[in-house]
């Protein structure tokens, strides 16, 4: 089941910085949960709390807490996953909707680190509501509350499946709403994991039925046995997320190594990667393509390694040979990354990121729609970052100036639709300009940059 670990985005935004809309949303969820609980208690006080049911509630709540307290943190660090839905769904069958609500609400007591009170209250209300709705769905389809016996199968499966689906939908829906209202540092990873986690929740929900069925045979011990596959699942999903993070970090470090040659381009790859992903999301690419373009942006200049430093930082006009060496860098980049099992699209993006819409770019001189979409996206982000960072021959330009320049060359150098998308994304998400390079190199006399449209490379014409 999904939880917000919170609204605590990277950069230490605490819950106190929530927007008014987010507070309102949260209050509504909590009020709904309290209203449901109050109404059920009022209608039939003590219905779900007969002495015989205290024990299952206690055991299931404990199972829930164990699962919920050790979730797999997802890459975005904004949410976490744990297989705790099996406990609430077992409660739906064994105790009924209100009992399930109580089990879900024990999330309030979760011993997970780093949760503040508002997060706990929201999580508890979210779980309580989804568990209660699941219980109602189960009853509505003719499910029978109590210990299932030999005669209950297979009739119980239909109502239980409905309960599981309702539970997962409401849980994800409520969390989704919260995440929409909280400015995420990087919304990408979570979106990407959603389908997997959605399926994972549905899959593990069936363990709830297993706990309920085995309760008749083995009592509370059923819950203990179920913990084993639950924790293996948690382990695997956690490992996956950890590996993915390690992968991204290693990639970033290696790209940075490539940049050590020139302190002015430090961080360039990462910012281009971020900018490309912003554009990609803005034009509505699906998450796997956004992910691919993120890596393509990161690696787009890897081929610069094959260009001698003296040429890259040359201040005067380049000879034709030198210019040819620079024009080769996208191809060299391709040679390096070709063997990574990437989407072919990412490779095309790396190879063609210096093409121009008017066909005067390199290495192939493609024009318009001949240029792969990834390459057109990277070209915009690449030029924008080159203009807004410091160079030895000029200070960083302001975002406004750079946007004006992008617009000026929109249609000749850049794809106009993508420039518009980038400007829209900039307006919404903002842009973190690099800090001025701390150490100017002793011999940093470059007066041009191959990425910078405001200071294009000068080539000595030879005839």
């Amino acid at each position: 089941m999904m939880t917000g670990t919170g609204h605590r985005a990277r950069g230490g935004r605490g819950a106190s910085r929530l927007s008014a809309a987010a507070w309102l949303y949260m209050a509504a969820v909590v009020a709904a949960a309290l209203a449901v609980l109050g109404q059920a208690m009022g209608a039939d006080p003590g219905l779900d709390f007969r002495v015989g049911q205290a024990w299952p509630i206690l055991v299931l709540a404990l199972l829930f807490l164990i699962c919920d307290s050790a979730p797999a943190t997802l890459a975005s660090r904004q949410s976490a996953w744990s297989p705790s839905s099996s406990a609430t769904l077992a409660a739906v069958v064994l105790i009924g909707p209100v009992g399930a609500l109580v089990v879900g609400a024990t999330s309030l007591l979760s011993v997970r680190r780093g949760l503040d009170l508002t997060q706990r209250v929201f999580n508890a209300s979210m779980y309580g509501l989804s568990a209660y709705a699941a219980g109602e769905a189960y009853l509505a389809l003719g499910g029978h509350v109590g210990h299932p016996g030999h005669g209950s199968f297979p009739g119980i499966i239909g109502p239980f499946a409905a309960a599981a689906v309702v539970h997962v939908f409401i849980n994800h829906g409520l969390l989704w709403g919260m995440l929409m209202l909280v400015p995420a540092a990087e919304p990408g990873p979570l979106h990407r994991h959603m389908p997997l986690l959605f399926l994972a929740d549905l899959g593990y929900a069936t363990l709830g039925l297993l706990i309920a069925a085995l309760w008749t045979v083995g009592g509370a011990f059923a819950a203990v046995l179920v913990l084993v596959p639950l924790f293996v699942a948690r382990w695997a999903i956690g490992q996956f997320a950890a590996q993915e993070q390690a992968y991204a970090a290693t990639m970033a470090a290696l790209c940075q190594a490539v940049e050590t040659k020139d302190c002015y381009t430090r961080g360039h790859s990462e910012r281009v990667s971020r900018g490309s992903a912003m554009i990609a999301r803005e034009v509505g690419m699906r998450s796997s393509r956004v992910e691919a373009i993120r890596y393509a942006g990161m690696l787009h200049d890897v081929g610069k390694l094959g260009v001698p430093t003296t040429i890259l930082q040359k201040s005067g006009a380049l000879t034709e040979e030198e210019f040819a060496a620079i024009q080769l860098h996208p191809m060299r980049g391709l040679a390096i990354v070709r063997e990574i099992g990437f989407l072919d699209e990412a490779l095309a993006g790396i190879m063609h990121h210096h093409e121009r819409i008017d066909g005067r770019g390199y290495p192939m001189g493609l024009a318009g729609d001949e240029i792969p979409e990834f390459a057109r996206v990277i070209a915009v982000a690449d030029a924008f970052d080159a203009m807004t960072s410091n160079r030895s021959y000029r200070g960083a330009r302001s975002i406004g100036d750079a946007v004006a320049d992008l617009r000026k060359w929109s249609g000749t150098q850049f794809d106009p639709a993508l420039v518009d998308a980038f400007v829209a994304a900039l307006r919404r998400e903002g842009w973190e300009q690099p800090r001025p390079a701390a150490v100017p190199p002793a011999d940093g006399t470059a007066a041009q940059d191959h990425d910078d449209p405001t200071a294009p490379l000068r080539v000595v014409e030879s005839w």
Partner: protein, 433 residues
């Protein structure tokens, strides 16, 4: 990124694993085959007991086998199939009536399901995976042979006997798991020339999480089948499918990770800092030497990363060393390159062990304040060896390079590493001829 890309090992290695079966694998498949023939013959003679139950479990096993999973280093697993097979071996009652299948019938049904499930793989042009099937089958055979006789003497399906039945099931499942690990370790030790104890340990470490999930699910299915009848099989595929999906993604990203580091390690070659293919050759050589010295798989992975990235520090040099051969650079310069490389890797924040190996790669093995880690000593020697020999297949050059390394074993190169390197290089030459 494509999950489930071909797995790990040096590419050449992976191919040779597939090409031919080693004698050990052949022996295993033959033994399993004989067992199956005996089981089928016996079952045919006495007739199938409770055919409906056999059919349901057989179908589940076949389905699980279709969805089999590649794990790291060419391992295969079929969690759903294994859980179904083990559940069939330990199930006590289905829908309140006792399950009475004898052990040999379990083996016959499981084998039929596995073979059926392997057919789609063959049709799609993938290897049938006979070794994996055989080792899984033997694990099930061990469990069935131990548990089926027990099930007739233990009155274990009523609530008060829950604990006893559970203990018996858990015991035999652990025995089956150990048998499978043992077999796989023997095969791996034979195939990769790894040490048996190390191979066994690696196998148990890799198989533990999935094995625990599979065994627990088998027990759960066995108990649930009593209450729910055969419906239990259908219902509990779902959680296993999810676990499997998570594992598949995990294996996929691990493969991509290694692939990416391998590719990016080439930046030094494209930049003209080192000779073509240097990083890869050093990587492969280092892993072979490490295995020869009995390093475990996690250590070997770390070593491979370090070997691939050992020259990354050269990127900070303004001008490449002529020919890229760091063996000829001054010790100070070598150290600076190593430090720079380590600080690059440190930035990733997740490869501390790798950074440490890279940092100490140019240290002499003796006469320092502390001894460099064994990974560094291996890379130190492998790097020098490759700088001297390169891509050349010339035996006399190999001999000369080894001689050169041996002359320096007093302080510079660890003699144990150089000996292992000589054995690896010797094998390679014999293999070529």
């Amino acid at each position: 990124m494509r999950p489930g890309v071909a797995m790990t090992g040096a590419p050449g290695q992976a191919e040779s694993w597939r090409q031919a079966m080693d004698s050990g694998e052949l022996l295993l498949v033959a033994a399993a085959g004989m067992l199956v023939v005996a089981a089928v013959a016996q079952t045919a003679a006495v007739g199938l007991v409770q055919p409906r139950i056999a059919l349901a479990f057989g179908a589940l096993i076949a389905f699980g086998e279709v969805l089999r999973l590649s794990l790291e280093r060419g391992r295969e697993s079929a969690p759903i199939g294994s859980a179904g097979a083990l559940a069939y071996a330990v199930v006590l009652a289905v829908g309140a009536s006792p399950a009475r299948q004898p052990a040999l019938q379990v083996i016959a049904v499981v084998a039929a399901g596995m073979v059926l499930g392997a057919l789609p793989h063959l049709a799609a042009g993938r290897p049938a995976g006979l070794t994996g099937i055989a080792s899984r089958l033997i694990a099930v055979a061990v469990v069935a042979a131990l548990f089926r006789p027990l099930s007739t003497v233990l009155p274990i399906t009523r609530p008060r006997d829950w604990g006893l039945a559970l203990a018996a099931m858990a015991g035999v499942l652990v025995a089956g798991w150990c048998a499978e690990c043992l077999i796989r370790a023997l095969i791996n030790a034979d195939r990769l020339r790894a040490r048996f104890r190390v191979a066994l340990w690696d196998e148990m470490r890799v198989q533990l999480p999935l094995g625990a999930a599979v065994a627990a699910t088998a027990i759960l299915i066995a108990f649930a089948a009593d209450m729910m009848g055969l419906v239990a099989l259908g219902v509990f595929i779902a959680p296993l499918l999810v676990t499997q999906m998570a594992f598949r993604r995990y294996a996929g990203i691990r493969a991509t990770y290694l692939e990416t580091v391998r590719a990016l390690a080439r930046v030094t070659e494209v930049g003209g800092y080192v000779e073509d293919g240097h990083a890869r050759r050093v990587g492969r050589l280092a892993v072979l030497v490490g295995r020869e010295l009995g390093m475990s798989e996690p250590e070997l992975l770390e070593l491979e990363y370090a070997a691939l990235m050992h020259d990354i520090g050269q990127l900070s040099l303004r001008d490449p060393i002529p020919g890229g051969a760091t063996v000829l650079a001054s010790p100070q310069q070598q150290r600076r390159i190593a430090e720079q490389g380590a600080s690059v890797i440190d930035q990733a924040g997740v490869l501390d062990g790798v950074a440490e190996i890279v940092r100490c790669q140019s240290w002499p093995w003796r006469g320092q304040d502390r001894q460099p880690p064994v990974g560094s000593r291996i890379i130190h020697a492998a790097n020098a060896f490759d700088d001297l020999v390169g891509a050349s297949a010339d035996a006399s050059r190999t001999v000369a390079a080894l001689e050169w390394l041996r002359l320096d074993t007093a302080t510079e190169y660890d003699p144990r590493v150089v000996d292992a390197l000589a054995r690896v290089a010797g094998r390679r030459h014999r293999g070529r001829r």
